[in-house]
């Protein structure tokens, strides 16, 4: 269990769902993990759940000065970075006719703009051979009603992976997207009114997935581990789909 031994990772949006699972798995594989998130209480719980080789840094990815503070903290700890996981995303469900300028800007701001600056500001700290992982969504590959701005803004990430692969190749830095399918998290229970309703939501997702079920966050984290580690040393500019076959059939 040491596939990331001596590596330093930063994960934005690492206190819930996929980000949390990734932080836990990376730490279990020997990495030192910086978790960056907005809410101090969630950060505290995350750090406590992982126990060691983890530090929580509070901040809002949408504020450039908070990103600068994150990387200044890592630098002042005397560390460089081997893995950057840009995992924060803003999702909503709004049909085209009802999209407001505000909701449009929110999606593009958090999903497209923020990811660029998250990665840009990490550049001076990246070791040669570092791995950058951008969390996308299957919504960028399919037409899902209500996801106009969300899906379009996440599609930017696949493009970033290609552009940055070409820009950063001389430093051996790999850039890939990970594209999760529907993932089973406590959010489903939080957003439904009863266990029966939650079960119905899960069943509806599962019906569209060849593997017959939703993903567990640990399964997305395991795929992120592959991209973060030397096991994927010849993989860059790609999209790793982790969707139980949903988008391939």
């Amino acid at each position: 269990m040491s596939r990331l031994r001596d590596k330093i990772a930063v994960i934005t949006g690492g206190t819930s769902g996929i980000g949390l699972a990734a932080a836990q798995r990376f730490a279990a594989e020997g990495a030192f993990v910086y978790v960056f998130a907005r809410r101090q209480e969630e950060l505290g719980k995350t750090v406590a759940s992982i126990g060691r080789n983890v530090t929580g840094v509070q901040g809002d990815v949408r504020k450039l000065e908070d990103l600068e503070k994150l990387y200044a903290r890592i630098a002042s700890d005397g560390r460089k970075l081997d893995v950057v996981v840009a995992n924060v995303g803003a999702v909503n469900s709004v049909k085209l006719a009802d999209v407001s300028l505000e909701s449009f800007n929110h999606n593009f701001d958090t999903n497209a703009r923020v990811v660029l600056f998250t990665v840009q500001k990490s550049l001076p700290l990246l070791n040669n051979g570092a791995s950058i992982i951008l969390t996308s969504t299957i919504a960028s590959l399919r037409g899902f009603p209500g996801r106009s701005a969300y899906a379009a803004s996440k599609t930017a990430l696949r493009s970033y992976a290609r552009t940055w692969t070409m820009e950063l190749k001389d430093r051996g830095i790999r850039v890939n997207t990970i594209t999760p399918g529907p993932c089973d998290t406590p959010l489903i229970d939080a957003e439904t009114k009863s266990p029966e309703e939650a079960a119905a939501v899960r069943a509806k997702h599962a019906a569209n997935i060849p593997l017959g079920r939703m993903a567990r966050p640990e399964e997305i984290a395991a795929a992120m581990l592959f991209l973060a580690s030397d096991e994927s040393s010849f993989v860059s500019g790609s999209e790793l789909l982790v969707d139980g076959g949903m988008c391939s059939v």
Binding site: M166, K169, G212, A223, F226, S232, F234, S236, D243, G245
Partner: protein, 249 residues
């Protein structure tokens, strides 16, 4: 804890290049591996190199009788297959204007029909929950002079992965492809008759890769390991580029 303890794997095209590297890696992870190939001498060398938990079975994937013999042996010795790596493939570059029927048919017989037969005949032995990995190629998505047949065979294999993901879902068998860029294997020699020619071909291939080098067969093996293992438990139907960023070009 080795990932493939008690598992049985079959690697076609296992006596050289990517297949050999994959067979070696699977054995390191605890699997018993059958390797198949057309040339007995190369097979014997490969078995000797791997050293343990391996058996070589001579055969040509384009010949149904050879496949029957292969699977009869596995059935009687092990009774099951957990992982199938279909790595047998050839290249025979010919500009369209000079393409012969014989060359065209030969490439399709091995790369496409032979691969489909390999998977079809494995089905009775494959365990539910098992994994199938096939080899496509960056050529499937590129226009490369001389590669009419080869590129088409690989595009067909990518299509197989989608169809089989849908067909085998009730058995929870995950089918995925690895799409290699230029990899340093003896297939380069298939395309260049002299040592100087092969060296030149390697240099040309490397120049086309953003990373500036050919991939190592071990880098394909590590992607195969990921896809074959529980680490990829929610990865199905994908075509994973392992190409040093070449698909970002």
């Amino acid at each position: 804890m080795p990932k493939f303890q008690e598992k049985v794997a079959l690697v076609t095209g296992g006596s050289s290049g990517m297949g050999l590297a994959t067979a070696k890696r699977f054995v390191e992870e605890g699997a018993f591996v059958y390797i198949s190939g057309r040339r007995q001498l190369e097979l014997d060398k490969a078995v000797s190199l791997i050293g343990r938990s391996v058996a070589g079975v001579q055969g040509d994937v384009s010949k149904l009788a050879d496949l029957d013999r292969l699977y009869a042996r596995i059935a009687s010795e092990k009774g099951k297959i957990d992982i199938l790596f279909a790595g047998a493939g050839i290249v025979d570059p010919q500009p369209l204007a000079e393409t012969t029927e014989e060359s065209f048919d030969k490439v399709f017989a091995i790369n496409t029909r032979g691969l489909a037969s390999t998977v079809k005949k494995a089905l009775p032995l494959l365990n539910d929950g098992g994994a199938i990995i096939v080899i496509t190629s960056i050529a499937e998505n590129k226009g490369i002079p001389g590669f009419t047949a080869y590129s088409a065979t690989k595009a067909a294999v990518r299509s197989f992965v989608r169809t089989w993901t849908a067909e085998l879902k009730d058995r929870r068998i995950r089918v995925n492809a690895i799409s290699p860029g230029p990899i340093d294997t003896p297939i380069v020699e298939q395309q260049a008759p002299t040592k100087e020619g092969a060296d030149q071909a390697r240099a040309q291939f490397a120049a086309a890769v953003p990373f500036g080098r050919l991939g190592r067969p071990e880098e394909i093996a590590s992607a195969a390991l990921f896809l074959a293992s529980d680490e990829a438990s929610f990865v199905a139907g994908v075509d994973l580029p392992v190409d040093g960023g070449m698909s970002a070009l």
